[in-house]
């Protein structure tokens, strides 16, 4: 088949090219141009952020990655991202640890457990919740959630204080990384749930029915037919959520009372994240200060790129070996 067709195809394509109408050429050029525009924008983002970062970091008098201070207006300028990186990672890890299991639970609830009449409107509501703007989560978190979590904080301090991380060594309301993590978990819950639910619904019905026919309980059906099929979907959904949590700005800026102290005590007020620091320091920053903030933004950009890349890589790898996708 392959050996006979090439000359014919070559011929035809040459003729097609010569007969291409101007409308065709303009339209395909336009659409190709749009695709290239997207690539140019991405390249420009990377290039300009890097350029500004170089301007800033070259004048930084200390190590940009290990310094616990943010004072680009000082003489000499001193600023580093250690605290921000720590806060970003910790709050995102807390958010993931809470959100992923719960989201899987809700997704299973909607796809396999809920009564039919409840499932559809519920899926719809979760869809809508994914669209709630982050500033509103922030407002709710700061005014409503923080006082509520004060009690939980004291309880954790009292009974789990010996674990060091739950030791509340400084007084103050619960405007800490732990609260931020919980708020981020609530925010990314709808997104993760949506994607995992879609995947669970696509699990092959035949597998489920086969398992049921062999006498499996509902949980065994889920464990043996649904979850293995949905594994890559769960991972990609989690990565999507992680991306959101890492880059979330306003909710964190509203809830956290920031400080440039790196503390393993999660319940102590203070800490910061990349995005929150940019929003908080922006207004008082001069041009050099803005460059410094852009430098921290570049680090955030690179981290989210890595997370996205990892997600894609995992999905691609799973697809090859997973029999469920065949």
């Amino acid at each position: 088949m392959v050996t006979t067709t090439p000359p014919a195809i070559k011929n035809r394509s040459r003729r097609a090219k010569s007969a291409a109408r101007p409308g065709d050429r303009i339209f395909s050029g336009l659409s190709k141009g749009s695709g290239i525009t997207l690539l140019v924008i991405m390249a420009a983002i990377a290039a300009f952020l890097t350029y500004r970062t170089v301007l800033a970091v070259s004048k930084d008098s200390t190590n940009f990655f290990t310094t616990f201070e943010w004072n680009p207006a000082g003489d000499p300028p001193v600023f580093g991202i250690a605290v921000l990186a720590f806060g970003t990672v910790v709050s995102s890890v807390i958010a993931m640890a809470i959100a992923v299991p719960v989201a899987i639970g809700i997704a299973l609830f909607i796809s396999h457990y809920a009564p039919r009449k409840l499932a559809k409107p519920l899926a719809y509501v979760v869809d809508l919740l994914a669209a709630v703007p982050s500033i509103i989560y922030g407002l709710w978190g700061a005014i409503f959630l923080v006082p509520y979590l004060d009690g939980l904080n004291q309880w954790l301090d009292q009974y789990l204080g010996w674990t060091y991380i739950f030791d509340k060594s400084a007084d103050g309301v619960a405007r800490n990384l732990f609260t931020v993590g919980i708020l981020l978990a609530i925010m990314i819950l709808p997104i993760i749930t949506n994607v995992t639910r879609e995947v669970f619904l696509q699990a092959p019905k035949m597998h489920e029915e086969a398992a049921l026919a062999l006498g499996a309980t509902r949980w065994e059906v889920v464990r043996m037919a649904v979850l293995p099929f949905g594994r890559s979907g769960i991972i990609s959904a989690s990565m999507l959520g992680l991306g959101r949590a890492l880059g979330e700005t306003m909710a964190v800026a509203v809830v956290l009372s920031p400080s440039f102290v790196l503390s393993g005590h999660l319940l102590d007020p203070g800490g910061g994240t990349f995005a929150q620091n940019i929003a908080a320091k922006f207004n008082e920053a001069n041009e050099f200060g803005r460059d410094a903030l852009i430098a921290s933004g570049l680090v955030l950009f690179v981290i989210t790129l890595l997370v996205n890349g990892a997600a894609r890589w995992i999905i691609a790898r799973r697809k090859e070996y997973s029999g469920a996708n065949a």
Binding site: R21, D24, S28, L30, S31, S34, G35, I36, L38, L39, I41, M42, I45, F48, L49, V102, A103, G105, L108, F109, Y113, Y124, D127, L129, A131, V132, P133, I135, I136, L139, W140, A142, I143, F144, G151, I186, P190, T193, L201, T217, W219, G243, L246, G247, E248, T249, M250, V254, A275, I278, A279, F282, I294, G297, L300, F301, T304, L305, V307, R312
Partner: protein, 357 residues
Amino acid sequence: MSHAVQERPVAFAKPRGPLSHARLPRWTPLAVAAGSIAAGVGIGLAAGWHSKVQWGLVAALVFVLATYAITTKVEGSRQAKDRIATSLVWVCFVLAVVPLLSLAWVTISKGMEVLDVYFLTHSMNGVLDVEAGGGVYHALLGTIEQVGIATVIAAPIGLLTAVYLVEYGNGKLAKAVTFFVDVMTGIPSIVAGLFILSTWTLMLDFGPSGFAGAMALAILMMPVVVRSTEEMLKLVPNELREASLALGVPKWRTILKVVLPTAIGGITTGVMLAVARITGETAPVLLLVFGTKLINPNPFEGAQSSLPLYVYEQYAVGTDAAVARAWAAALVLIAFVMILNLVARGIARWKAPKTGR
């Protein structure tokens, strides 16, 4: 596997009793739930705990343990695990619904306190932080203008890119575009803001304006439009394209007159959902549009305001009157986004091609 099959006959030979396992009656979970709630309340009262959350936790714990014990005794451990899993899934559901319901309830109830026609039709001009009054007109105007401009920039580029990927693209360029669209979806909004800041504001030396914010919003919007449009175009049956091409219609007219109209419902939905997403973005607006108390109808010159930014500013002010305004503005914002969402989904359902699922 073959092992298990061989052992089966032995297992069949043994039992003498009924073929089906003993089952718990259907009302068991309800009864256990009632019992464990009673236990939770009882223990809570006895220990003198004030927090209802602790009562609930005790009740949940008692419920799980009791269910497990009873089911293991009567139905066997596999059924017990199944029941545990079921209750865990229900717990997840309740855990998630409580904060989300609370969010909706708080926003609506607090927002309604201040929200009225006056609030929607006046700006903050001359309103002191501590006094009530003022409104969101300037912010609403700013949001509509910025989002409108962003849509005008992003929708055509996103649409054409999707057309390229589905109708023309094969090869390295298309692969690169697909990859970077995915990457772009993950860009934090503040990074998009910083990019426009570093070019438009710092390099080209323009002041804050609605247009600068709109450019950052457009960057956030493009990948979403591309993704959803791409999915919709892929759903258009190839037979339609082939029929059109076979009649001698040029490809570009085929795309414009056959492919796009077929998918227009889904594309509209995708664009509207993208609009809803960028409407709530605060961070780029904070960096680029700056915020003002005055009505500035010109998005190309001078600071503007926007709804999410207004919420943030009023919260930051912190007085009772300002926080009340923040809630009201939050309600306006949420209503705006939800209406967009509902209309978009309505269009999707109305225009949806019939599928099996």
